[in-house]
Symmetry: C2
Subunit: 204 residues, 2 copies
């Protein structure tokens, strides 16, 4: 059968929801799915590999990418740009790889508009109380930081309704299985099957 185009997967969740753990467990078992690599103007740190952890770009290069509309979304944090390079994502999708964008809510909403053919997944926590226990459990933060994170998390959780799917991370194994089911099901949507289906109709 013809190589199917990969799926663009938007993946968000508040700090403390454990989405990083879920993703790395999920990706360890898949050869058909990659995590998107962001472009950034921040300086590489020891161990950072260009094209693996980030695409490191100068401010001029990044602004040229913005002007040329080469970013699916971008934002500026603490004086550095971060963004998702459209040509890189498109190359992966065309090669049949699913691409996961692990991305905060504002960027996610932007990509949902720009790329209507996406799958969007929000990772939630079993309860607000559990989120607070997880954030406090790290034991490294001051009260003010925790309260600020809790407020931000509540705000982020309220945006879950913008996403197609909600995966509650009450158990990492279960959350990984849920993610697998979503990707399997989405690959069976008629719109994504139709190229193959045209072949079905014509094959003896």
């Amino acid at each position: 059968m013809t190589n199917k185009r990969g799926m663009l997967i938007i993946f968000s969740g508040p700090s403390g929801c454990g989405k990083g753990t879920v993703l790395s467990r999920f990706l360890a078992e898949r050869t058909d799915t990659v995590l998107s690599v962001s472009a950034t103007t921040r300086k590489p740190r020891p161990g950072d590999v260009d094209g693996v952890h980030y695409f490191f770009r100068t401010r001029e290069e990044f602004e040229r990418m913005i002007a040329a509309n080469e970013l699916l979304e971008y934002a500026e944090y603490s004086g550095n740009y971060y963004g998702t390079p459209a040509p890189y994502v498109e190359e992966c999708l065309a090669a049949g790889k699913n691409v996961i964008l692990e991305i905060e809510v504002q960027g996610a909403l932007k990509v949902m508009q720009t790329c209507p053919d996406h799958v969007s997944i929000f990772v939630g926590v079993p309860s607000i109380g559990e989120l607070e226990r997880r954030l406090r459990g790290r034991g490294t933060e001051e009260e003010e930081v925790i309260l600020r994170r809790m407020a931000a998390a509540k705000q982020e959780l309220a945006t879950a309704e913008k996403y197609q799917y909600l995966v509650i991370n009450d158990d990492v194994d279960k959350a990984v299985l849920r993610l697998q089911a979503i990707l399997e099901a989405e690959s069976l949507r008629y719109n994504r099957m139709k190229t193959n289906f045209m072949e079905v109709m014509n094959n003896a």
Copy 2:
């Protein structure tokens, strides 16, 4: 957590696609999902149990159900009515059971309109040639019957685009897994999770 409402699943496919086998294998493993029971005016045959195989109704009773809008869809074949009783389906859904309607395309299109909150799955064959081999493989049909069935199947396959999902039945085990993934993923849609999610937001 609050008992979640069940999902209404519309399940169609041409004669010879093997959807009956896939369904019975799938249902054998699930206690949360039932096959809908149709109402009919045809006479019970030996072994038929009212309320299990069909709800057996007189013509007058059936026509009263039509007039009272108590059928999600109905049709007449060889002088007998067949239809899907809305109150029965609603009772199952309210009790948290998923309900599968194994239904032909015309009825399916009707239910899609009447019940917007549905999951629709079309079962296809790996190729038209394979369908023909399966139909001929039964070895019991005359050429004319086979040709008529092939023509009907091609027409039915062309309606696959009206369904959300396409499950190619190239292998029964795989088709059952695909069906499981679809139901799992659909249960994670934000709209179906939101009742539980409201509790998440309020739970300490």
